[in-house]
């Protein structure tokens, strides 16, 4: 009877062990492998994301360098443009000043000539007035003073000159 009991326990043990092994195999096949696969995939994804992130970081670093360089170049270009603009502006200012000076000189010359002309006109006008007055006075005086003998003298001198 004891032998029978022991073989029953051994059988149960063996069956249990077989069950465990079967369970292990089943769990391994149904759970462990997919989970492992899933975990591996996840690790791979993480790895690829990590490598992409590293690449992006590197790219960003490269862009940053590039932009830094561009920014430095642009700053330099701006400075150069500013220098050129400054030069152009100075040149333009000089030209404008020279032009303004020339215009001013021309205007001054023109005004001086105008003044000279007006001075001349004024003198001429004054002289004309004086002449008109003098001749008018002479006329009035002559009207009173001319006599018959003066007229005779005029006639005589005319015909003497005419007849040679």
């Amino acid at each position: 009877m004891e032998g029978f009991v022991l073989s029953q326990a051994a059988t149960d043990l063996i069956i249990n062990i077989l069950n465990i092994i079967l369970l292990f195999l089943i769990v391994r096949a149904l759970v462990y492998k997919p989970v492992r696969k899933f975990l591996d995939q996840r690790a791979a994804r993480v790895e690829s994301i990590k490598s992409e992130a590293e690449k992006a970081l590197q790219k960003a670093k490269d862009q940053e360098e590039k932009y830094q360089k561009l920014s430095e170049e642009n700053t330099e270009r701006c400075n150069q443009l500013l220098r050129e603009a400054d030069k152009t502006a100075s040149k333009k200012a000089e030209e404008i000043i020279a032009e303004a000076k020339k215009q001013g000189d021309d205007y001054l010359k023109e005004q001086r000539e105008k003044i000279a002309h007006e001075h001349e006109d004024m003198l001429t006008s004054m002289q004309d007035e004086i002449v008109d007055m003098a001749v008018g006075i002479s006329e009035q005086i002559l009207k009173r003073e001319v006599s018959e003998s003066d007229n005779e003298k005029i006639v005589r001198e005319y015909f003497a000159a005419k007849n040679g």
């Binding site: 001749v135 006329e139 007229n151 005589r156 005319y158 015909f159």
Partner: protein, 72 residues
């Protein structure tokens, strides 16, 4: 017959007019007829209009010439 118009001051005598006529008669060989005209504005001398030509021996003309000469 050539017509000559002599313009004088009204105060000039007829003798003066006659002297002028005689002067022109010596100058022009043809027959002449004279007309006297009076101009109250005339100061002295005379103006003779000899059919297309004016001979101005008046003091007015001399004063006008003087004026032009001085204004030159």
């Amino acid at each position: 017959m050539r017509k000559i118009k002599i313009t004088l001051s009204p105060s000039c005598s007829d003798e003066l007019f006659q002297k002028i006529c005689n002067g022109f008669k010596r100058q022009y060989p043809e027959e002449l007829s004279f007309i006297r005209a009076n101009d109250t504005q005339m100061i002295g001398g005379f103006i003779a209009d000899v059919e297309g030509e004016i001979i101005d021996v008046s003091l007015n003309a001399q004063l006008a010439r003087m004026k032009d000469h001085l204004k030159k």
